[in-house]
């Protein structure tokens, strides 16, 4: 059986029914715009602050974009039982879930480049190391999507997924060094920062945009990769335990 056809069918179906729908396109544009505007205005500094704020805005756009859509594409389909149709298809669960999350990953990457495009008109981004920036964005999108998947399979209702997502998302804004350096956090919060995937993604983004980072890129990306693998494996385990029980 041609498994790639099944993979492609799921991805295209999700893109058409969810990600390319006007409300999601609007959300994908407005949400990063709102974050960008909010932080630029709040920072009180001029356009020279853009490189400082850009990594945080990019990371937060990806995080909120991916986790929000996963709650719909997985939890909603599980709730209305159309997800059963996918579970009945003769394709490995791993491939099925990769197909199901690929659309969200692409959506997250697209979200990330909304503030980048905006910043490109307002600031000089010639110093950005795109060779590391783009892989970092992709890895953040994968990790955030798999976090969204982990949340989506742990709950039964869409509203529960959104609530549970916020339990992770809002602390990450403050704990992952997006806008406030981790070094300035109270000592007791620092271990928590390093237990969150976005910390490593944000470190790479800071490093690639304005050169300040605390860990080697290779370590950041390796840890992000480990988070991705762990979240995906946990999600698959939960699907097998809860949905194919």
């Amino acid at each position: 059986m041609k498994l790639w056809i099944a993979f492609w069918s799921i991805l295209v179906k999700d893109m058409r029914t969810y990600y390319l729908k006007p409300p999601n396109v609007t959300w994908g544009l407005i949400f990063p715009l709102a974050w960008t505007g909010m932080f630029f205005i709040k920072s009180g500094s001029g356009l020279e602050s853009i490189p400082e704020l850009l990594p945080g805005v990019v990371a937060i756009s990806v995080l909120f974009g991916t986790t929000s859509v996963l709650a719909v594409t997985v939890t909603f389909e599980k709730k209305n039982r159309s997800f059963e149709r996918l579970l009945l298809a003769p394709i490995p669960l791993e491939l099925l879930m990769l197909a199901k999350t690929s659309g969200a990953i692409l959506f997250g990457v697209a979200n990330a480049f909304v503030p980048v495009v905006m910043a490109a008109f307002l600031a000089d981004l010639s110093q950005v190391s795109w060779g590391a920036f783009v892989p970092a964005v992709l890895m953040i999108a994968v990790a955030s999507t798999f976090l969204g998947l982990f949340i989506a399979v742990a709950v039964s209702e869409v509203f529960e997924a959104q609530t549970f997502s916020n339990f992770f998302r809002f602390p990450m804004i403050f704990l992952c060094g997006l806008f406030f350096p981790i070094e300035k956090l109270p000592v007791f919060l620092k271990p928590l920062s390093y237990a969150l995937p976005l910390t490593y993604g944000a470190d790479v983004l800071h490093g690639t945009v304005h050169g300040r980072h605390t860990m080697p890129f290779s370590l950041d990306l390796a840890v992000l990769g480990a988070f991705c693998a762990a979240l995906f494996a946990l999600s698959l385990r939960n699907i097998r335990r809860r949905w194919i029980a």
Binding site: I10, T17, A89, P90, P92, I244, A245
Partner: protein, 326 residues
């Protein structure tokens, strides 16, 4: 497992905490057979289907689908089967055509092939005119038809139909039954769960009754009915039954009992199978115009009530309350 079994289940069990939903179920289904699985709500029908199709894992009992161990290799078994769940669970945002093409894609069918097959099924199911309409806007009957079409898009050897006609109007249900019969004639093995006993009686080769997670009887409709049939009964319809015909018949056929239950009807009862030829000839010699002679037998519903103690009407009402009435 022999080649004459496409589904084989032995001692199948499923527990949810303290509740045993399926308790030691054993049966097999032969190639090309239409096998009915009948029982009230909560009897374990859907749980059994879920285990057979790989949507649930049994606590005990091997399942073999087309010779493949379904518990250890569910994905290989899923290539052989099509499933029509008890809810029409296609995608409301996609059109009928897109839904079928998507389902075909899940089975690795190429673009040309899936478009051709989708068009063919939309024609066959009378949905060609609605092919470009979104599934969400379909009527309940149309949704059911498209869900069945999606279940057979990849031409499975075995089709699982879970309550296919529940909540559909009489005409729609009749049309669906004709479609199911057509699939059966074409050689598809069908596993059908239904609470409409008359539906199972009309369609199925063999029937299993499941109550409280246990199979209480499996057999052909003919054999299920036989034990509760004390006498052989034939009803003859004629243009008019002349006065005295009952006495004439009783005199000529002393081993048979006759009665006149209604205008133009003669009821014939005997301990042995009734030979209708001599009866009809006798009546015609008497100048009686016979229009029909048919054997009366207990319905499968009578058998179900006798065996399970559950009133079929109550079962139907309960289901329709839960799933939308017909």
């Amino acid at each position: 497992m022999g080649d004459d079994r496409v589904i084989e289940v032995s001692g199948l069990a499923k527990r949810f905490g303290e509740v045993t939903a399926v308790d030691g179920v054993t049966f097999d289904v032969r190639p090309g057979e239409l096998f009915g699985f009948l029982g009230p709500n909560g009897a374990g029908k859907t749980t059994t289907i879920n285990m057979l199709t790989g949507l649930a894992r049994p606590n005990a009992g091997p399942i073999r689908i087309g010779g493949i161990d379904c518990t250890s290799n569910p994905k290989a078994a899923q290539r052989l089967i099509g499933v029509v769940p008890d809810e029409s669970n296609l995608y409301p945002e996609l059109t009928g055509f897109e839904n079928l093409c998507f389902c075909a894609g899940l089975y690795g069918m190429g673009k040309k092939e899936r478009r051709a097959r989708a068009g063919e099924l939309l024609d066959a199911f009378g949905l060609a005119e609605a092919s470009d309409r979104k599934f969400g806007g379909y009527s309940r009957g149309m949704k059911r038809k498209l869900t069945i079409a999606a279940g057979i898009i990849h031409q499975p050897q075995i089709l699982f139909l879970d309550e296919p006609t529940t909540g559909i109007d009489v005409a729609g249900a009749r049309q669906l039954r004709q479609m199911i019969a057509g699939l059966h004639r074409a050689g598809t093995t069908i596993f059908l769960t239904t609470h409409y006993i008359e539906e199972a009686e009309r369609l199925c080769d063999r029937v299993a009754f499941i109550v409280s997670g246990r199979i209480v009887r499996i057999d052909t409709v003919e054999r299920l009915v036989q034990p509760i049939q004390a006498k052989h009964v034939v009803q003859i319809a004629c243009a008019s039954a002349p006065p005295g015909v009952q006495g004439d018949l009783a005199e000529s056929f002393p081993d048979v009992d006759f009665s006149l239950p209604g205008s133009g009807l003669i009821r014939v009862e005997a301990d042995e199978p009734v030979r209708v030829g001599p009866l009809i000839r006798f009546l015609e010699d008497q100048g009686v115009e016979v229009s029909e002679a048919r054997r009366l037998r207990p319905s499968l519903e009578d058998v179900f009530v006798r065996i399970t103690g559950i009133e079929a009407d109550a079962m139907r009402r309960e289901k329709e309350k839960a799933g939308g009435g017909r």
